[in-house]
């Protein structure tokens, strides 16, 4: 399992860079059958620049079905989870 603590990534990176990092990890892990967990503790904002560079780019390349059972979140604000669900609906 690959786990990313998003707050740590955002300390030294802006949203597009952090999204790019998440994409790289997803691309490395998910096609090999591993799961990716995004720890969202302390994250209060998920703008489109982050989502486009991470999940959006992955879905564009591999399709939304490839995420099923392979992507999970922990310690996430309910509003951010709704935002991600809404985002996935719009891009798929």
């Amino acid at each position: 399992m690959c786990k990313i603590i998003i707050k740590d990534i955002l300390k030294d990176n802006d949203y597009p860079q952090a999204g790019g990092y998440v994409f790289d990890v997803m691309e490395k892990c998910i096609p090999n059958g591993e799961t990716v967990t995004l720890n969202m503790e302390g994250v209060e904002v998920l703008p489109s620049m982050f989502l486009n560079a991470s999940i959006g780019r992955y879905v564009e390349k591999y399709g939304i079905a490839s995420l099923k059972g392979r992507l999970s979140f922990e310690k996430i604000l309910s509003s951010l989870l709704e935002r991600i669900k809404d985002y996935l609906k719009r891009i798929s």
């Binding site: 802006d14 703008p47 620049m49 996430i76 309910s78």
Partner: protein, 240 residues
């Protein structure tokens, strides 16, 4: 009020760059602007990018700059939580201002004449946000992908969820659309840019061609925060 003050800051900065000397009459509302909002500090050498307003209802004027584009939204949320809310989930506010600031750096090619300010009115629980820049404007940016659009139609296009000018690789659209999504039916979003105005809330969008030209983009919106809920953190969620 924030919309007027960011526009005033934009005008003063533009005039000073042309070599004009600008005076504020302190006998009128100028005293509030000059002293309370610290306008006197922003237009000199080594000027600060942000000062705290004396009036607690106002988050002071911020000279928008790229190195603080992720810092200021955090400042906004901290201010609202510290002064008015303690455990409310304000992610929609932080998200909307982040989208507005990135929009300046990704599309406008603005020089450093860009400003933001916000005010929270406790009596009606409404937050007013204003952002202004002197860049190429949204219509011009959109026409780099779709030539021949009028300014008002270009503003409409900018809110399309999947539309992007691809000015940056991470621009997949949805930025300005997310600001609109933060609005309820009672809230509003206004964007002035070039010869167009866009007026929107959650359910409606209208564009109008204007008889005057605005160099850059003036974006402001007014949100009711009364319906914002307490923060709820979910321990785990799997996509099934």
């Amino acid at each position: 009020m924030p919309v007027h003050l960011v526009t005033l800051a934009y005008l003063i900065d533009a005039l000073k760059k042309e070599g004009a000397r600008v005076y504020i009459d302190k006998n009128t509302i100028g005293s509030f602007i000059y002293d309370n909002l610290h306008f006197k500090d922003y237009f000199s050498e080594n000027s600060p990018t942000f000062t705290t307003a004396e009036d607690e209802r106002i988050l002071g004027l911020w000279r928008v700059n790229e190195s603080e584009k992720d810092v200021h939204p955090k400042r906004v949320q901290d201010y609202l939580k510290r002064v008015f809310f303690h455990n409310k989930d304000l992610s929609a506010v932080g998200g909307s201002v982040t989208e507005a600031y990135y929009n300046i750096f990704d599309h406008s090619r603005s020089t450093n004449n860009a400003w933001s300010m916000m005010k929270y009115d406790e009596s009606n629980e409404r937050l007013s946000v204003a952002v202004c820049d002197c860049g190429i404007g949204i219509p011009e940016s959109i026409r780099q992908s779709i030539p021949n659009l009028t300014d008002s139609d270009a503003l409409l296009q900018a809110l399309e969820y999947k539309f992007t000018t691809q000015s940056k690789s991470y621009n997949g659209g949805m930025g300005l659309g997310n600001i609109k999504d933060a609005c309820t039916a009672e809230d509003y979003l206004r964007i002035f840019s070039g010869w167009g105005i866009l007026l929107a809330n959650r359910d409606k969008i209208k564009v109008v061609q204007t008889p005057f030209y605005f160099q850059g983009t003036l974006l402001y919106y007014d949100l009711s925060l009364s319906h914002f809920e307490e923060e709820e953190v979910l321990e785990g969620f799997d996509f099934l």
